[in-house]
Amino acid sequence: MTTATPEAATAGRTITYREAINEALKEEMRRDDSVFVAGIDLAERGDVFGVTAGILSEFGPRRILDTPISENAIAGLATGAASQGLRPVVSMMFIDFIGVAFDGIMNQMAKMKYMFGGKATLPITVLANSGAGTGMAAQHSQSLEALLCHIPGIKVVMPSNAADAKGLMTSAMREDNPVFVIMHKRCQRLRGVVPEGEYTVPIGKAAVVREGRDLTIVASAYMVQETMAAADRLAEQGVEVEVVDPRSLQPLDTETIVASVEKTHRLLTVHEAVEFAGMGAEINAQVADLAFDYLDAPPRRLGGPFSPVPYSPPLEQEWLINADDIVEAALKTVNG
């Protein structure tokens, strides 16, 4: 895969995405005693995807807790502890489970600072796994980033590769606001070049992960992988695609996206989340507002069908967006 960030490419060492999250956690925990980690099966088990492996043995039970299966209490743990100056990292395990915790997220964590007139500072990192393609069915496969981006007071990042996973995770833990770090399940085993030692990727800064002149495709998380594969095939047909990975969806780096569209004059947004009222709608609307005169074709979007994620493998494959779908949508955008 060619999605490692250019600055990381010189460092040489490769690790997986989940190891990168793990490394960021450990480095930040060594640096700052106010960072603690809490969630379901994180300490003894090391998390369902292994992102907290080895933390208990290095830091002991004070710094990492196995909590009851009580997502709203976990959200409250984060908000209450952060209000007292700690820097919690809590896990929702699967992003689908934010449904249980949503009061704690939407009404408490997100609003406390503003509704208290600015007096609360809430440095919280929330980890959650999203995405379909692993046979986990409707309640363990959703992509809910747009839901979170719609709530003022929280930030949302979605790393697509190992280097960004480390860099965004580190930045999230240093941020004085609640930040959701949404990990895609199918990214967890991706390997990439990741700098050793301190490494941050700024929240709110997109990456141009492939340059091209004919079409801008904005894609996040695992969709970056599919988009890069599609871009290779499109290049064979003479269509040069520029791929922009926003990395951070709230705040969104509209400037980088608009600059790319001003160059390519065409836009396709791709996400795994259902298309209706997804991030693609937001990005396309912003580009229409800010760069209408540069557009040679209507901005298009490609997102998941408007249904829960099905279980049966052929149905799930039908539901998912893949490189074929992206090639087709790209050609429609380019050829009209």
């Binding site: 009580s70 209450g80 209000s83 700690l86 009404n107 503003y114 509704m115 007139g117 600015g118 929240i203």
Partner: protein, 331 residues
């Protein structure tokens, strides 16, 4: 069940508690009046009638201890040391209010003195209490976090999650249930399968006690035991205070579903009158002395209202401030 470690309040504490209860009463009567006059936008949920609960609990708390409160939160705020000027200014939606006018009655907070906020969501406070109590435990301090919540909140999932979480982690927390017998407009016994809510403590393996919430001495003793227990590191407990709000769910409006007789019966057991009678009997404060305190408090409340009324509204330019902390990023 409890170890009954709490000594009776001394004279100074009794006088402080009396004055604080009167302050809450006068504050709430004025807030109700101002809401009727539309001086206060939105809703006010009045604490009048329940004063002994907030005061009997908060009399044990240090400035560094924390409380989570409810939509009926003015009393908790005053009992924890809140400033009535900043409170009224907030109710009026003015710039010098506690939240700069961005919160209003249901979101008054003062983190500097451990007030984690009133809360517009029933059951919003218990999980936050878990976090604040965890922070005290994490730091190895003997700080305590108290959650005030109503009978209605005990039917929220958040309340159960928080109680179990606090119990299993042995957090330094106290969950005070203000059982005023109505969740909004519906009687508690129609909403809850258990009416003595302290019994729910059995589900979490922690102590639970029910006290007369109109009698500040009873609240003081039970809360003191629970807070001591939490401070010692022995974990959370429940204190249920049997109490009553004098007014409707919101404001002092008509349409109260509760009978005249029921309301009159509770008025006969007024928490301020009960305390005043003891103070007079023990020659700590005469009837005239109590009247003098009330007059002084009224003057303070009137002064706070005048301050709030004259205070400027927030400038529209602050609309988008404080959605996020902007000092974030590289520390």
């Amino acid at each position: 069940m409890t170890t009954e470690t709490t000594a009776a309040p001394d004279t100074e504490q009794l006088l402080y508690m009396f004055r604080t209860m009167v302050t809450i009463r006068e504050f709430e009567e004025a807030a109700g009046r101002l809401a009727e006059q539309a001086k206060i936008p939105g809703a006010v949920h009045l604490y009048a009638g329940e004063e002994a609960v907030a005061v009997g609990v908060c009399a044990h708390l240090r400035e560094t201890d924390t409380i989570a409160s409810t939509h009926r939160g003015h009393g908790h705020c005053i009992a924890k040391g809140g400033d009535v000027k900043a409170m009224f200014a907030e109710l009026f939606g003015r710039a010098p209010g506690y939240c700069g006018g961005k919160g209003g009655s249901m979101h008054i907070a003062d983190l500097d003195i451990g007030i984690l906020g009133a809360n517009g969501i029933v059951g919003g406070g218990p999980p936050i209490t878990v976090g604040a109590a965890f922070a005290a435990q994490y730091r190895g301090s003997d700080g305590v976090s108290v959650c005030f919540s109503g009978d209605g909140s005990t039917n929220e999932g958040t309340w159960h999650e928080a109680l179990n979480f606090a119990a299993v982690m042995k957090l330094p927390a106290v969950f005070v249930i203000e059982n005023n017998h109505y969740g909004e407009f519906t009687a508690q016994e129609k909403q809850g399968a258990v009416t003595q809510l302290s019994k729910r403590a059995a589900a979490y393996g922690i102590p639970g006690v029910t006290v007369d919430g109109q009698n500040v001495f009873e609240v003081y003793r039970a809360a003191g035991d629970a807070i001591d227990r939490a401070r010692r590191g022995d974990g959370p407990s429940i204190v249920e205070a049997d109490t009553y709000r004098y007014y409707n769910h919101t404001g002092r409006s008509e349409g109260d579903p509760r009978s005249e007789q029921e309301r009159a019966r509770w008025r006969e057991r007024d928490p301020i009158a009960i305390l005043a009678a003891v103070l007079e009997q023990q020659s700590i404060l005469s009837g005239e002395g109590a009247e003098r305190v009330t007059e002084e408090v009224r003057a303070t409340v009137e002064e706070a209202i005048a301050f709030a009324d004259a205070a400027p509204y927030p400038d529209p330019s602050v609309l988008l401030d404080d959605v996020y902390t902007v000092t974030g990023g590289a520390r």
